[in-house]
Amino acid sequence: MKKIINLAITDFKIVFRDPSLKSFFFLPIVLFVLIIWGVPFLVEKYDFLQPYIPLFLIIAVIENTQLYCFVSSMVLIDEKETDVAKVYGVIPFSKTEYLISRFLIPFFFTVLLNVILLFVQPFYEIGILVNILVSLLAAAVVPLYAMAINSIVQNRMQGMVYIKAFNMLVLIPVAAFFVPESIKHVFGILPTHWIFQSIDNLANGCETGFMLGIGFLLYAILIWMVSKVFVRRHFI
């Protein structure tokens, strides 16, 4: 456990000593301001925005996850580019411990951000249990995203390109809200679809258990598969 915490703390030091990464921690503040004051102001002023409130919330939740998606991806890419990743291959620190320590803080920080966001948003009353479940599901994007990118790229330049692509990828399921109901789950192949649908159901007072269940299952499968590839490629 001490090993895991040591590395998690080291990540924090690395991030806060890198001005380009540190600045990303202002992103949630902007999102909170928009959700608490900005969106209610706009909705009040422009009535036609009323049906899109769930979408605003969905975007805010997923953008909260993007903070650590980017930061974790960059930390890992940097580790690969500087060959520090190779050191982890020859020390008594298992790959599971490595993954836990790398995503422990990012995951729980993201969960916390979304729990707070869903709690303070002024549009719907959301129970704490379902709030936590939705936040946990949303935070699962972070390890999946960072490991997937790091299984593909070799350096920061490639990383920036793929991060752009992945940012679009996580948002594609928003399109499900603009297609006929009968085909909206076509987007279910992308795991963020199930986060979006869960939040939408929540906003509409519908049952979310099924969406959350599929989401957790899909994330579990994808994280397991991607972690296998990541472990095979990251330390050599």
């Binding site: 590395l7 030091k13 890198d18 060959d83 520090v84 020859v90």
Partner: protein, 283 residues
């Protein structure tokens, strides 16, 4: 300590093996060198030995136990000095060392300060590694590899990027580790470094071991048993080493003028390598 028999390794997606049946052993307290040009398979062999690469064929035994049977306690016993510097640039030298020390159960037998002093990095201990030169980072590589007092050390080009003074210091530290009973496996294409520190060297080309012996024996075996004498006048002659003291021609020659230089004609390791493999180490 290390026994390797008929080691074959093929990288995934490669048709032909990179290591083609290597067999050698390294004794406890020995400095064993793998000499070969780039792409010969030196680093691949090391990676197999420190379990980064799996899926090899053949037998590898560490302390008479098959490598595949060793768990994470094997990684407690080994230290790896990489060919290129690899550190967290935003962390200080000390933070880098402390982080990686924290993964081992074995505690350091030298303090961080002593380790930094050892390689002349005392002034840089609290500086971020991004401010280090390449040579400083390589010295940090070295102390990171040895800080947990491992029994077996793997060094990949340990003097690469170092100035002559620091290269000499690192070679001396490797010899000190050997005198402490550490088993040291060095891969290099620097015949000078190999000559200075290795008890035995293995010459490897295209994944095949060509010859294994001590540098001294190899240089003698592939050299000429001659003495080259050059006088101040510029005149040079070669004499057979055998019974040189009784060689009247030699004695007359060195009395004829002041001697500028006298050299035996043993081969350098590079010449040995070229003789054995027909290739240059600098390829």
């Amino acid at each position: 300590m290390i026994q390797v028999e008929n080691l074959v390794f093929t990288y995934p997606r490669n048709d032909s093996p990179t290591l083609k049946g290597l067999s050698f052993s390294v004794d406890k307290g020995e400095v064993f060198g793998f000499l070969g040009p780039s792409g010969a398979g030196k680093s691949t062999a090391q990676k197999v030995l420190y379990k980064i690469l799996t899926g090899y064929k053949g037998i590898i035994k560490i302390n008479d136990k098959d490598l595949s049977e060793w768990g994470s306690n094997y990684l407690e016993k080994i230290g790896v000095g990489f060919e290129l510097p690899n550190h967290y640039l935003k962390l200080t030298g000390k933070e880098n060392l402390d982080l990686f020390a924290s993964f081992y159960q074995t505690k350091r037998n030298k303090s961080v300060q002593e380790l930094f002093d050892m390689v002349g990095l005392s002034d840089a201990i609290d500086k971020p590694v991004e401010a280090y030169s390449k040579g400083m980072k390589m010295r940090l590589n070295f102390i990171r590899a040895i800080q947990h007092n491992p029994d077996i050390l793997f060094f990949d080009e340990p003097t690469s990027g170092l100035d002559p003074v620091n290269a000499h210091k690192i070679k001396q530290h490797i010899l000190d580790l050997k005198s402490e009973g550490k088993t040291i496996f060095v891969t290099t294409h620097s015949m000078e470094a190999a000559d200075d520190i290795c008890d035995r060297v293995a010459l490897i080309v295209d994944g095949t071991l060509q010859i294994v012996d001590s540098p001294k024996k190899l240089k003698k075996q592939f050299g000429k048993e001659l003495l080259n004498v050059e006088l101040n006048s510029g005149e040079q002659m070669e004499f057979p080493l055998k019974k040189i003291g009784d060689n009247e021609a030699f004695l007359t020659f060195i009395k004829s003028d002041d001697v500028k230089s006298i050299h035996t004609q043993e081969a350098t390791l590079e010449e040995v390598f070229i003789s054995v493999t027909g290739k240059s180490l600098k390829q």
